[in-house]
C-alpha cells in the first residue's frame, strides 16, 4: 500500500517536471526569438559603441579557437595570427578542442565570453551548430571573425570572415592543372572528407561545372566520390578500393589535406605511379615526397601564414575602431596588403599557391 502511494507521488512529480520543462522550453524559444530580433539592433549599437570609445590596441585581446588540436595545416595560421596581433601591440591567445565534433567548440566560445575577450577568431567546425553561441558572444559585445572556414548560409550570424584565398579561383586552377596532367581524358574519382563538408562539396561542384561548360573536358569522366572522413586509414582504404574497382582509373583529385596524401600513398602501394595522377589541396611538407617522385604532378593550397597575418591585423583594427567591416569595404593592412570585403563581409587574404616538385622545398608548412 505504501509502495503504491509512493509511486503515485512519484508519478505526479514526474508529470509536474515534464510540464514545467515543457513550458521552459517554450520560454527559451521565445527568448531566442526576441534575441535574434534584438541582435540586429545591437549590431548597430556595438558599432556605435566602438566608434565612441576607441580602445587602444594594448587593451585588445584576440582569442583564436582552432578546429582541433594538432592539425599541421593550422600551425601557420596560429603563428601568423600571433605574429600580427602582437606586432599591433595587442594580446593573442589560442585554444582548440580535442575533437572535431560540431559542438566541441561551444564551451570554448563560452569561456571566451566569460573572459571578456574583444575578438573571437574561429575556424568553425560546422556552419550551423555554433550560431546560437555566436549570437551570445556578439550580444556581449565581442566581435566574431571566422577564419579559414566560414559559416556559409549563416553569414549574418558573424561579423566577418577571413578566407585564405578565393576558393572558387583555387578550385578552377586546381582542376585545370589536374585535367592537364591527365591529358584531358579518362576516368577520375574525388576523395573527399565527410559527406556535406562545405569546402569539399563546393570544390567538387566547381569540377562538375567546369566539365559541363567546357568542351575540352569532354573526354574526362567523373566516376565516383569517395568519403575518407579525413581519417588516414579510412581515406587510404577508400582510395585503394577505388583503384581496384576502376582498373582504368586515370586520376584522383582530393580537396582535403588528409585525402591527398592517402590517395598518393594508395597509388604508390598499387604501383600505379605515372598511370594514376593525384592532385588536390595539401601542405607542401606533406606532399613533398609525392611531388618529387611524380605521383602527384601538382598540388594546391594557399598561404595559410598570410591568412593568419590578415586575420590578426584585421581583428585588432576592428577592435580599436580603426577599420569597419562592411560589404565592399577596402581595408589597408599595411605590410599584409589591401583587402576587399565581398557582399557577405568575407575577405580573401591572397592568391592560391601551386606546388610542384620545383618549389615544394621552398615552403615550411
Amino acid at each position: 500500500m505504501k509502495k503504491k502511494a509512493l509511486s503515485v507521488v512519484l508519478g505526479i512529480c514526474l508529470l509536474g517536471t515534464a510540464l514545467v520543462t515543457g513550458c521552459e522550453k517554450k520560454g527559451v524559444e521565445q527568448s531566442a526569438k526576441s534575441d535574434s530580433s534584438k541582435q540586429e539592433e545591437t549590431q548597430g549599437s556595438t558599432d556605435d559603441k566602438e566608434k565612441g570609445s576607441a580602445k587602444s590596441a594594448s587593451d585588445v585581446t584576440v582569442r583564436y579557437i582552432c578546429l582541433t588540436k594538432g592539425i599541421p595545416y593550422f600551425d601557420p595560421i596560429i603563428d601568423g595570427m600571433k605574429e600580427s596581433v602582437e606586432k599591433a601591440g595587442a594580446t593573442f591567445q589560442d585554444t582548440a578542442p580535442d575533437t572535431s565534433d560540431a559542438t566541441a567548440q561551444i564551451p570554448l566560445i563560452e569561456a571566451a565570453i566569460q573572459d571578456k575577450v574583444d575578438v573571437i577568431c574561429i575556424s568553425p567546425s560546422d556552419p550551423d551548430a555554433l550560431c546560437a553561441t555566436f549570437d551570445k558572444a556578439r550580444d556581449a559585445g565581442i566581435m566574431v571573425l571566422c577564419v579559414n572556414d566560414d559559416i556559409t548560409g549563416n553569414e549574418d550570424r558573424r561579423d566577418g570572415a577571413v578566407m585564405s584565398t578565393d576558393y572558387d579561383k583555387l578550385g578552377k586552377e586546381n582542376f585545370e592543372a589536374f585535367a592537364e596532367s591527365m591529358n584531358y581524358e579518362g576516368k577520375f574519382v574525388a576523395l573527399s572528407s565527410k559527406t556535406g563538408t562545405p569546402f569539399q562539396e563546393n570544390q567538387m561542384q566547381i569540377y562538375r561545372d567546369m566539365m559541363a561548360e567546357d568542351e575540352k573536358y569532354a573526354k574526362m569522366e567523373f566516376v565516383d566520390v569517395l568519403y575518407g572522413d579525413d581519417e588516414a586509414t579510412k581515406s587510404l582504404t577508400e582510395a585503394e578500393a577505388a583503384i581496384q574497382k576502376y582498373p582504368d582509373l586515370k586520376g584522383i583529385i582530393s580537396p582535403t589535406s588528409v585525402g591527398i596524401v592517402a590517395a598518393a600513398q594508395a597509388v604508390e602501394n598499387a604501383g600505379m605511379t605515372g598511370k594514376i595522377m593525384v592532385s588536390g589541396t595539401g601542405t607542401p611538407s606533406q606532399c613533398k615526397t609525392y611531388l618529387e617522385n611524380g605521383t602527384m604532378p601538382n598540388a594546391y593550397l594557399w598561404d595559410t601564414g598570410l591568412c593568419g597575418n590578415v586575420a590578426g591585423t584585421l581583428a585588432v583594427k576592428l577592435a580599436t575602431g580603426e577599420a569597419t567591416l562592411e560589404p565592399g569595404a577596402e581595408i589597408d593592412l599595411g605590410e599584409y596588403g589591401k583587402v576587399t570585403a565581398d557582399d557577405d563581409c568575407l575577405v580573401p587574404a591572397g592568391d592560391p599557391l601551386k606546388f610542384t616538385k620545383d618549389n615544394a622545398g621552398d615552403y615550411d608548412f
Binding site: G70, D98, D224, T233, Q244, K245, S285
Partner: protein
C-alpha cells in the same frame, strides 16, 4: 563434458569463418572485382595494427580487465619513434621499434600499477590515462610527423610490392605476434596463469598465483604490443598525426576480441578467434568501400555484429550451464 565445451567454442569460430566467407561471396557477386588478390591484400593490410592491439586487448579481457588507453599508447609510442626519425634520419628502424615497444611497455606498466596498487577498475584508470598519454604528446610538441621524415624502408613494410611472397611484411609481423602469443598462452605457465586469474581470481590466489603480479604483466604486455602497433601504423599510413592516430581504436579492438569469442567475463578467449574477428572487420570495411555503401553504415554494422556476438556468447554460456546442471 570437456568435449562439449570444445565443440561449442570451435562452433563459434566456425561461425565467424562462415560469416567472412558469406560476406566475401555476396560482395564478389555484387562487385566481381572484389574477387582478386589485390582485394585480399587490401583486407590483410587493414588488420596488422588492429590485430596487434586486439591481441593486447584480448589478454586484458581474459584477465578481467578492459583497456581504453591502447590507442593512445599506440599514438604515443609511434610519435616517439617519429621524433627519433625527425632528429636523426640515420637511426636504424630496429632501434625505433625497440624504443616504441619499450615506451609502450612503460605506459602499460603505469596502467597496471595504478589498477593493482589502488584496486580501481581498469576501465576507469585507462580512461584517465588515455587522456594523459595523448596529452603528453601535445606537451612534447604535438606537431604532425610528416612523411618526408619517415624512412622508406619502414614504409616498405606495408607495401605488397616490396614483399617476396606477396603478403606485406607488416601482416607477417602481426601474424608472428599472434603465433608467439598463442604459444605463450598455451605452453608457458605465466601464460596459463592469465586464464586462471580470469576464471576465478580467488581460487588462483589460493593456489599461490599473485593476482597483482599477473595483472601488471598483462598491462605491460598489452602496452608493449600497442607500441609495436604504433610502428606498424606509421608504416601503413606514412605519417603520424598525434591527434587522430589510433583514436577510438580500442573500441574496434574490443569488437574484434568479442566477435572472436572472448568472454567479457574473463577467463575465456583464443588467439585464433581474435585473428578471425579482425579479419571479419577487415572484410566488412573493404566490402563497404568497394560496394560504395555510405561509411555511416560501417559503424552501425560493426555495432550490430558486436551485439549479435555477445548474444551468441550468452546463449552458449547458458546452454553450457544447463548441460552442466544435468
Amino acid at each position: 563434458m570437456k568435449s562439449r565445451k570444445l565443440n561449442l567454442s570451435s562452433f563459434r569460430e566456425l561461425g565467424v569463418i562462415a560469416m567472412i566467407v558469406i560476406i566475401y561471396i555476396v560482395v564478389c557477386i555484387i562487385e566481381p572485382r572484389f574477387f582478386s588478390t589485390t582485394s585480399l591484400v587490401n583486407i590483410l593490410l587493414f588488420f596488422p595494427f588492429l590485430l596487434i592491439v586486439s591481441l593486447g586487448e584480448m589478454i586484458e579481457i581474459v584477465s578481467r580487465n578492459v583497456d581504453m588507453s591502447l590507442g593512445a599508447i599506440l599514438a604515443c609510442s609511434g610519435y616517439a619513434a617519429g621524433l627519433l626519425f625527425k632528429t636523426n634520419s640515420d637511426i636504424p628502424i630496429a632501434a625505433a621499434f625497440i624504443v616504441a615497444i619499450a615506451l609502450g611497455c612503460v605506459l602499460g606498466l603505469i596502467n597496471g600499477f595504478i589498477v593493482t596498487r589502488f584496486q580501481i577498475p581498469s576501465v576507469i584508470v585507462t580512461l584517465g590515462t588515455m587522456n594523459i598519454y595523448r596529452g603528453v604528446i601535445f606537451i612534447l610538441g604535438g606537431k604532425q610527423i610528416d612523411n618526408s621524415v619517415i624512412p622508406q624502408s619502414l614504409m616498405a613494410l606495408s607495401q605488397p610490392k616490396e614483399s617476396i611472397i606477396g603478403i606485406p611484411y607488416s601482416v607477417l609481423i602481426a601474424l608472428l605476434a599472434a603465433v608467439l602469443l598463442a604459444v605463450f598462452l598455451k605452453y608457458f605457465r605465466a601464460g596459463r596463469e592469465i586464464y586462471e586469474i580470469g576464471c576465478n581470481p580467488a581460487a588462483a590466489s589460493l593456489r599461490g598465483i599473485s593476482n597483482n603480479r599477473v595483472q601488471m604483466f598483462v598491462f605491460t604486455l598489452a602496452g608493449g604490443l600497442s607500441g609495436l602497433a604504433g610502428m606498424v601504423f606509421i608504416s601503413r599510413i606514412g605519417y603520424m598525426d598525434p591527434g587522430a592516430a589510433g583514436r577510438g581504436l580500442e573500441f574496434t579492438a574490443i569488437a574484434a576480441v568479442v566477435i572472436g569469442g572472448t568472454s567479457m567475463n574473463g577467463g575465456v578467449g583464443k588467439v585464433t578467434g581474435t585473428v578471425l574477428g579482425c579479419l571479419l572487420l577487415g572484410v566488412i570495411q573493404n566490402a563497404i568501400s568497394i560496394t560504395g555503401i555510405s561509411g555511416y553504415w560501417q559503424e552501425a554494422i560493426y555495432g550490430i555484429i558486436i551485439v549479435v556476438s555477445v548474444i551468441i556468447d550468452n546463449l552458449i554460456k547458458n546452454r553450457l550451464a544447463v548441460s552442466e546442471a544435468r
